[in-house]
């Protein structure tokens, strides 16, 4: 699915990713945890193609293609989806119109015609139910006036509509109460299948009670410093990140 090797990237002169390695196979769910400032969100932005970041070294192969050579929109069209930590508002553009445009672009890239209006609306209805998003939200402007929980649900709704092969969830659990968290996780779980992979970036273990990962990685200083099965998340919850930091320091 995606193979990240020795990835180094940063903003201006500041290096944030310092030789990041990760291999994700189809159908796998990888959780990336770590303290604030360890480079988790930078990783998400770099993979999605945000222009503010400079990649200085390393390779990323996505579906057998060189991801770093692709524009942000082509990465999306190839099936990479980023659920944003802070989804932006686009006043005056309805959710429906936005998704219709996005879906048509992605289908066009694959050589497919846009969906018929009837089929599109049917799809909207079906996917909305998945994240318990009210019908009226689909007709409102993209994220405008949405509560924090609605914005995150809307991200998962978009993901369901666009059917990516690799979804990166950037702190999707932040700012969610327990009910919203359950709804979001439930949506993600319904989208899990043998072909679709997930990279779940989170600060807290609690999301992983609902989205159970195959692997847990701990990120620190722009690198993965520890990997393990899902139980690693529990250990982190118990001991905090200081334990990792100390371990790193003594190793140096």
């Amino acid at each position: 699915m995606i193979s990240i090797k020795n990835l180094k990237a940063g903003i201006e002169d500041k290096e944030i990713l310092r030789g990041f390695n990760l291999e994700v196979k189809p159908g796998e769910v990888h959780a990336i945890m770590g303290p604030n400032g360890s480079g988790k969100s930078t990783l998400a932005s770099v993979l999605a193609g945000k222009e503010d970041y400079n990649v200085t070294e390393g390779t990323v192969i996505f579906n057998e293609k060189d991801l770093l050579e692709m524009s942000a929109e082509d990465r999306a069209r190839e099936g990479l989806f980023l659920a944003f930590q802070y989804p932006v508002e686009i006043p005056g553009v309805s959710n429906i119109n936005f998704l219709k445009t996005a879906l048509a672009e992605i289908r066009n890239y694959k050589g497919l015609p846009p969906l018929e209006a009837k089929d599109f609306l049917k799809l909207v209805k079906e996917k909305q139910a998945m994240v318990e998003l009210q019908g009226s939200l689909a007709n409102r402007s993209v994220n405008e006036g949405f509560s924090g929980g609605e914005k995150k649900r809307n991200e998962i709704f978009q993901m369901a509509m666009l059917e990516p092969t690799l979804a990166i969830l950037d702190e999707t659990d932040s700012g969610l109460d327990i009910d919203a968290l359950r709804i979001v996780a439930n949506g993600v779980n319904q989208l899990r299948n043998k072909e679709r992979s997930f990279i779940v970036i989170t600060h807290y273990q609690r999301l992983l009670d609902y989205i159970v990962p195959d692997f847990v990685h701990v990120m620190y200083n722009g690198q993965i410093v520890k990997s393990g099965p899902k139980e690693l998340a529990l250990e982190l919850e118990e001991k905090g990140y200081d334990w990792i930091k100390k371990e790193m320091e003594t190793a140096v």
């Binding site: 999605a48 193609g49 945000k50 222009e51 503010d52 524009s71 942000a72 929109e73 990465r75 999306a76 069209r77 989806f81 980023l82 944003f84 989804p87 932006v88 686009i90 006043p91 005056g92 553009v93 119109n97 936005f98 998704l99 445009t101 996005a102 879906l103 672009e105 992605i106 890239y109 402007s141 978009q158 666009l162």
Partner: protein, 483 residues
Amino acid sequence: MSDILEEVTSSEYKYGFTTDIEMDTAPMGLSEDIVRFISLKKNEPAWMLECRLKAYKKWLTMEEPRHWAHISYPKIDFQNIIYYAAPKAKKELASLDEVDPELLRTFEKLGISLEEQKRLTGVQSNIAVDAVIDSVSVKTTFKETLAEKGIIFCSFSEAVQEHPELIKKYMGSVVPHTDNFYAALNAAVFTDGSFCYIPKGVRCPMELSTYFRINASGTGQFERTLIVADEGSYVSYLEGCTAPMRDENQLHAAVVEIIAHKNAEVKYSTVQNWYPGDKEGKGGIFNFVTKRGICLEDNAKISWTQVETGSAVTWKYPSVILKGNNSVGEFYSVAVTNNHQQADTGTKMIHLGNNTRSTIISKGISAGFSNNSYRGLVRVSKGAKNARNFSQCDSLLMGDKCGAHTFPYIEIKDKSAIVEHEATTSKIGEDQLFYCKQRGIDTEKAIALIVNGYCKEVFNQLPMEFAVEAQKLLAVSLEGSVG
């Protein structure tokens, strides 16, 4: 990021072409003789000539307003302008077939083929077109259909000949020749325009439309539009403008007057894309327009909707005088400036009657090196009870070399008034663009999507066909080389 915006926003004007038709022009410059020449050319009655001469004499005493608006441009030499240019060999035309085919092709390039309009009569596009090329109305379509309802829709010159009582009664009643420098100039030298009268209780069954186009080199266009909606009538009027590419600046000073009687409603929509000059700011139209409507009696309503993407310099404030009780004035505007364009535009809402209401929604978009100003006045006179106004002025900046300014003036002389004003300034964010791209939408489409979303409240006010055209115009104005 700024590179992309620069590339996207530096597009060339797509409507630059010149029609080669024999012109019948006045000598260059302005004098009493030229005013007489125009009047004579148009075979006008003596009273009309008198009106012109009065205005000309007033104009001589007035000073060009140069200081208060947030625009700057070289001094205009009014003796270096041709004030009359008409397509030659004019005769009465019985049908469209007799119109110079060259002219028809011009319209086709503009996308408003008269033939198509005619073919579509009563099917889908119910628009009657009064086409004005360089000051003279060439052909008015649908006139007969409208006449059955008693609606008069013709060129201004024709109205002077055939409906002198209406012209005498209403011309200059909203914008007198003493109003301002350009209104005086227009009253002296105007060459043509449109006249529209909707009789009592008649709902005009189709959109009425005028297409203005400046063609001859070095000519100014001074058209005059007069719309009278009698008691209980309704009309939706569309005005569209384009001008071919020219190196020297061309002057345009129009006057539009609207009179709405008791229970009448007039909706006036403009899409203007006159030549804005090239990327370096050379050439382009100077657009100094006075547009004003009056809700003369109770329960009248006047609504201005404008989408302005053209002209090098725009100076324009469509206004409503709310004289009748319970009358309503509305102003919906999208003004786009790019490259070196300058716009100082807005509205005036003058509340005189009781329970009058006005709404102002203004959306400015600035790109390139342009300057875009909103200037608006809300005035509530003493004794005008329970007046209400809501104003919303938003500015959108693209790139960091352009400017957006808001100058709201509020004069309230009656305590019962409720006036609200909201203003925002935003930039097309890198974050918004990235969000769109991450969903598979490229930069060009993303900008169109975001800008159209931003203008939605105004586009919603436009008739369907115009809304589509306006969206396309925005795309042409702001996009271009990318993709």
